[in-house]
């Protein structure tokens, strides 16, 4: 049975247990950072940060402040554009049991720009030392041992959820109904296309430029499957100016 994440940002306190838990489980080294006037650090995903809590703050006309947290990660797309863009066999694989999209060491032979460009969510990163392309792997080692992915395990707030896709979709739909009462603009981000379903209380772009895939909406599923993809991320970026 395919698995899915349901990430309810309305419950996220940005405690960053997920961000740190991911690094710890995967023994990823810290990258040097600086305080630049925001709590978001590192500033972006990088080869050693596969999970990143993004912070964005807003004030409306009435002076009401919102602070949005977006625990970003690979969406494990159901029809993964990165996999379709892949030209090296065994470099990008999808686990049928869980739906996990996995980058193996063979990604070192891929063209990073192509793989990166294929991703509508700006996820893949290149490890300059190994030349491998890296991203979240759903902690498939843990999942196959019947353990939760570490980011989900770390989350005490109920923001990060993981389980059978059908259950997660139901959880997401139910929660959306609740949240909409308070936040009419609340929505799920590409729930039909991805295995990592975010619920946001406001326009997704207010959380993160790549919170939703805008590019793919222009393409039909058929076009995508036919391999008629373009570097979608670049497209998305171009559209956002």
């Amino acid at each position: 049975m395919p698995k899915a994440f349901f990430i309810d940002t309305t419950k996220c306190t940005a405690c960053r247990g997920c961000q740190v838990g991911c690094k710890e489980w995967k023994d990823l080294p810290a990258v040097p950072t600086k305080q630049t006037g925001t709590h978001q650090n590192p500033p972006d995903l990088n080869p050693f940060n596969l999970k990143l809590v993004r912070f964005s703050e807003h004030m409306d006309k009435n002076g009401v402040v919102s602070w949005y947290f977006f625990p970003d990660q690979c969406r494990h797309c159901l029809e993964a554009p990165c996999k379709q863009a892949s030209s090296v066999e065994g470099a990008i694989i999808q686990d049928a049991a869980t739906g996990a999209v996995i980058f193996t060491e063979k990604t070192a032979k891929e063209d990073f720009e192509v793989i990166h460009g294929a991703c509508p969510y700006d996820i893949p990163r290149l490890n300059p030392a190994t030349k491998q392309i890296v991203k979240c792997d759903m902690c498939v080692d843990r999942v196959k041992a019947n353990l939760l992915p570490m980011c989900v395990k770390s989350c005490a707030m109920g923001a990060m959820n993981f389980g059978e896709r059908a259950d997660m979709l139901k959880m997401a739909a139910d929660r959306l109904v609740m949240v909409k009462k308070k936040f009419p603009k609340a929505q799920l981000c590409n729930p039909d296309d991805v295995a990592v379903i975010f619920l946001v209380a406001d326009e997704p772009k207010k959380y993160h430029a790549f919170a939703v895939a805008e590019g793919p909406a222009l393409l039909t599923r058929k076009q995508m499957l036919a391999g008629a993809f373009t570097p979608l991320r670049r497209l998305a970026r171009a559209m956002q100016g």
Binding site: K11, C12, T13, A14, C15, R16, G17, C18, Q19, V20, G21, K23, E24, W25, P29, A30, V31, P32, T33, K34, Q35, T36, G37, T38, N41, P42, N49, E57, H58, M59, G63, V65, S66, W67, Y68, F69, I93, Q94, D95, A96, A97, T98, A100, I102, T104, D137, V140, D141, V143, K144, A145, N146, L147, L148, K153, S154, A156, M157, G158, F162
Partner: protein, 1011 residues
């Protein structure tokens, strides 16, 4: 239990997904290869506890080949359900860090380097230093000629990081040496909580517990950034919110807590009493209070004596020379039998209800708004939403932390929340209470074990020279009531004190020698031996050496430039630590030539949490065991071993050489070797002779079953009566319990009586006798905490097992207060029976709109050439600075700055400011700025954010900026301590420093030197 919450899918036979892979065929090989070899497979799993905040999250430590390979949350832990915040999630990196201290290090006077030494060399020399200093400076009599038997020239500091068992042997050692300059983190973190909550309800602890927050209908988070500094709070706050509860956050800045609250109300730091005073007025005027509760359970109907008055900011009884009140001016009016007079009709002008009404009548919306900077609309929004819980079927909880404690009015901030909760009938009920989020991992336990100069373990005041005999001491501190319905549990104090002395001195404690009472050091009455005074006396040369364990005062004490200079004046210091920090390496701090620092430093490497066993007590008083997963790294040792060895080495020297007043040391009943399990038993206590309790016989040497069995005749021992009952002959070590079973009634309110153990006697919700009416029926049957059924209480352990009040033998519900009632009027605190608004010691105002009295008239002001205060409304320093914590670092950051993923997420000192202030000062987001007060300056990266707003105060704009207090120079380029800027001003009750409000100015830094 075999079925736990460890797996996310119910285990159904062949649970591992790998077994089913074959069915799909696709990509099978590569995925299997990729996912092969779960790193924790075959690892040994041990339960430990996160060493940071007082949530006390249980962890699973995975060990392979003697090395920690993973630490993650324990899903069976009821508070976290297996989650961990960023700090907890980084525990593996911290434990295995190459930055760990793994060898004893010695720094010779004037030296510029550490030298590695062996333990024996270090311990021998440490014992010698302690003994020589003690022999030289021991004071048998004070200036008045009274016997005091104390040592003033040596201090002990720390630590809330030690286990309860370590705290017990440490406290015993410190008193044996005669040390009075004895303090730890509780002083600077939550010391006001104890006298404030105790004055209201009888005990100085969080009334409920984390899981219970889910039962609230309204959650007022004020003086706390719970989502960041006690992250698990929000698991339960969010649960309540999903049920329809409203979460309100009243705090100077919009934080991660505000982000998840229903709304945030910014308030100028230091004006909480004005804000809550307005709420009291609102409750009384709009009759929002729970009338039966207030009448039956609080002292609203008590009459106050004629000497009491309040005029223009001052209560009666003030002595301006001593800056002290004569509290007898506030005493209750008693009848000829000694019973407090009452007027249940509230007609008498001097009943508490009317005095309270008069007092808070001055807290009108206009004045409150003008002082706090909160709009009237926002004030009403909070008042309305929160006071809606003043009904039997609604619960409101107040959650606070250092935002209330760290003020010159810290105790009264908390006291006033107690008034609100009493009026609304929110104490003792599920979803109610005052949830004091205690700070460090075991600060509740180390407060209970009193690593504080002013208490002996179990909240007994340290004797002063005025009480030369045990009888005099017990008479002074054992309250008496003439009301037969009042339990007055503190009337049992003699049993607990004598049992403590029996534990300390064993067979050497006899009735004839006052159980060794004369060996306990006596303080001089009215003299303060807490942090601010320790460092002041150190600065002035009065303190020569000391012990500092798991504490980082050279980063965390206010007016730090003075503190660091004071530390330079020490001849010797013994430090136990896990990592280097600003205190261990003070002699080589930036700008100082090590040659000029004469201090001899002994740095002992400490084991870290997963390397030792013992208990901690979390904020909800859960007494929980953590197990040792691996051997301590390198040559590090647990602190219990260090204390025991130091004491025994000093003892051996006294046995061999004699010296100054050796009795407290040589006569001590002290372990030869530290073992947590054995100490846990000593804390609980033993019978010293065969004894019968009820119809059960106990032999000499058996464990006392609970504190009701402790005696004042020498037949029992207990190092801490609160924990007596936590380790029994019948059930063993109850802190190890992991039973999650619940009755349906317990399940409804999230009570886990079988998980670990809570003091006192496993009560989970304190004062729960106030959750029922006089007949024992719950005010809110949907959320029953206890109920009287078939002649007995069921649910939680009742707080006093007596029958309901209306029945024969019934008692008042507040068993720890002298008169059995919670106290709206509290005549026992230093600065008044009702909280009153005073401005912080440094204030942007020139007039206090509430009275002519600008500041707390009793606040402690440290005076030296380096302690300077800006004048009221000082134009040189027009900006209010408040300081705080954040999720990713803990306290001074001395541990968490060594965690690579934490430092990656929060790498450098910053100052949060409004866009308006930034524009005024020409500062852009990310610029390095210099923040300066009259005492010092610090550099920080500007974080320009709409989350901080300018305040409109008394008609003018007041800017506030906020800085974290976790950064220090010992990690290069992360900045240095904010406390170089803060003030040495203390609350009059506990001398907690006013970290939360001082005056600064700031400008763009010309040259970046610290970041």
């Amino acid at each position: 239990m075999t079925m736990t919450r460890r797996t996310f899918i119910k285990v159904t036979g062949a649970g591992l997904a790998g077994l089913t892979l074959g069915r799909f065929g696709l990509d099978l090989g590569p995925v299997e290869a990729y996912a092969a070899g779960l790193k924790i497979e075959g690892a040994k799993e041990t339960i430990s506890i996160c060493p940071f905040c007082s949530c006390g999250c249980n962890t699973l430590v995975h060990v392979k080949d003697g090395r920690i390979i993973n630490i993650e949350g324990d899903p069976d832990f009821p508070i976290s359900g297996g989650g961990l915040c960023a700090k907890g999630a980084s525990l593996k990196s911290l434990h295995i860090s190459p930055e760990r201290l793994t060898k004893p290090l010695y720094r010779a006077p004037g030296s510029d380097k550490w030298e590695e030494k062996d333990w024996n060399w270090m311990m021998e020399r440490i014992a010698r230093r302690i003994k020589d200093q003690r022999d030289k400076d021991f004071l048998q009599k004070n200036a008045a000629g009274q016997l005091v038997n104390r040592l003033e020239s040596v201090f002990h500091l720390g630590s809330s990081q030690v286990s309860n068992e370590e705290a017990a042997v440490l406290h015993q050692m410190v008193r044996a040496f005669g040390i009075v300059h004895f303090d730890h983190q509780a002083r600077i973190c939550h010391s006001p909580s104890v006298p404030a909550l105790a004055e209201c309800f009888g005990r100085g602890a969080m009334t409920n517990h984390y899981n219970d927050i889910q039962n609230a209908d309204a959650i007022l988070i004020m003086g706390s950034n719970a989502a960041e500094h006690h992250p698990m709070t929000f698991k339960w706050a969010l649960k309540a919110q999903a049920r329809g509860a409203v979460i309100m956050h009243v705090d100077p800045k919009f934080s991660r807590t505000s982000a998840r609250s229903d709304f945030h109300v910014p308030i100028r730091s230091g004006t909480d009493i004005a804000f809550l005073g307005g709420m009291i007025k609102y409750i009384l005027e709009k009759k929002k209070y729970f009338a039966d509760y207030v009448l039956d359970y609080t002292n609203a109907s008590f009459l106050v004596g004629e000497k009491y008055s309040f005029k223009d900011g001052m209560f009666s009884g003030f002595d301006p020379d001593k800056k002290k009140y004569d509290k007898s001016a506030w005493a209750f009016d008693k009848d000829a039998d000694g019973k407090v007079k009452r007027d249940p009709t509230y007609k008498h002008p001097r009943c508490v209800m009317n005095l309270m009404k008069a007092h808070y009548s001055r807290y009108d919306l206009d004045r409150v708004s003008s002082v706090t900077g909160v709009s009237k609309q926002d004030l009403l929004r909070v008042y309305e939403a929160y006071t809606a819980t003043g009904r039997p079927d609604k619960a409101g909880t107040i959650v606070y932390a250092l935002g209330w404690t760290q003020h010159s009015v810290g105790v009264q901030n908390i006291r006033l929340s107690g008034l609100v909760q009493q009026l609304l009938g929110n104490i003792g009920i599920a979803g109610g209470g005052i949830n004091a989020l205690r700070g460090e991992p075991n600060v509740q336990g180390t407060t209970d074990h009193a690593l504080l100069y002013g208490y002996l373990p179990g909240y007994h005041s340290t004797p002063t020279a005025n009480y030369q005999t045990l009888e005099e001491y017990l008479k002074a501190y054992t309250p008496v009531t003439k009301d037969p319905m009042s339990v007055n549990w503190w009337g049992n104090r003699p049993k607990y004190v004598v049992s403590l002395l029996k534990s300390w001195y064993g067979d050497n404690a006899t009735k004839e020698n006052d159980y060794g009472y004369s060996w306990v050091p006596k303080m001089d009455p009215g003299v303060d031996y807490s942090h601010l005074y320790i460092f002041d006396r150190m600065y002035k040369g009065g303190i020569k050496g000391g012990l500092c364990f798991a504490h980082n005062p050279c980063q965390s004490i206010p007016n730090l430039n003075k503190v660091r200079k004071a530390w330079d004046k020490l001849d010797w210091v013994v430090i136990g630590e896990v990592f280097h920090n600003e205190t261990t390496d003070n002699w080589r701090r930036p700008g100082v030539d090590p040659k000029t620092v004469k201090t001899e430093v002994f740095l002992l490497p400490s084991a870290y949490r997963a390397e030792k066993d013992g208990t901690i007590s979390n904020s909800g008083r859960w007494h929980m065991w953590h197990y040792k997963a691996v051997e301590p790294l390198g040559q590090s040792r647990n602190m219990g071993e260090m204390f025991v060895e130091i004491m025994n080495r000093v003892r051996a020297l006294y046995a061999k050489e004699g010296g100054a007043f050796p009795e407290p040391i040589t006569k001590a009943d002290y372990p030869a070797k530290f073992e947590a399990e054995a100490e846990a038993k000593r804390i609980n206590g033993f019978f010293t002779r065969d004894t019968k309790v009820g119809d059960k016989e106990y032999k000499k040497g058996q464990l006392v079953p609970g504190f009701p069995s402790l005696k004042d005749d020498g037949s029992t021992t207990s190092l801490n009566w609160l924990y007596c009952g936590g380790y029994t002959e019948a059930e063993g070590n109850l802190s190890k319990r992991r039973d999650l079973t619940q009755t349906p009634m317990q399940a409804k309110i999230g009570l886990y009586p079988g998980f670990a153990w809570a003091w006192p006697m496993n009560r989970r919700v304190l004062y729960n006798r106030a959750s029922v009416d006089k007949n024992g029926k719950p005010f809110n049957p949907d959320k029953t905490v206890i109920v009287w059924q078939d002649g007995k209480w069921v649910g939680d352990v009742p707080d006093g097992g007596y029958p309901p009040m209306s029945m024969e033998g019934g008692k008042y519900p507040f068993i720890m207060t002298t008169e059995g009632h919670s106290q709206l009027f509290g005549p026992g605190r230093e600065d008044g029976p009702f909280p009153e608004h005073y401005e912080p010691a440094e204030t942007p105002l020139v007039v206090n709109p509430f009275s002519k009295q600008m500041h707390n008239p009793c606040m402690k002001v440290i005076q030296s050439d380096m302690d300077q205060l800006a004048k009221n409304g000082d134009p040189r320093f027009p900006i209010v600075l408040t300081t705080y914590s954040l999720t990713e670092h803990w306290c001074s950051g001395s541990e968490t700055r060594n965690s690579p993923p934490l430092l990656e997420a929060e790498p450098q000192q910053y100052v949060e400011m409004s866009p308006q202030l930034a524009q005024e000062k020409g500062i852009k987001n990310g610029d390095v700025v210099e923040v300066e007060s009259l005492r010092g300056k610090t550099q920080a990266v500007a974080m320009v954010t709409v989350r901080i707003k300018p305040f409109k105060v008394a008609g003018k704009t007041v800017h506030l900026v906020g800085m974290p207090f976790c950064f220090g120079w010992s990690k290069p380029k992360c900045g240095d301590s904010t406390n170089r800027v803060t003030v040495s001003i203390g609350d009059p009750n506990t001398t907690i420093p006013e970290y939360k409000a001082c005056l600064v100015n700031l400008r763009k830094a010309e040259k970046v030197t610290e970041l």
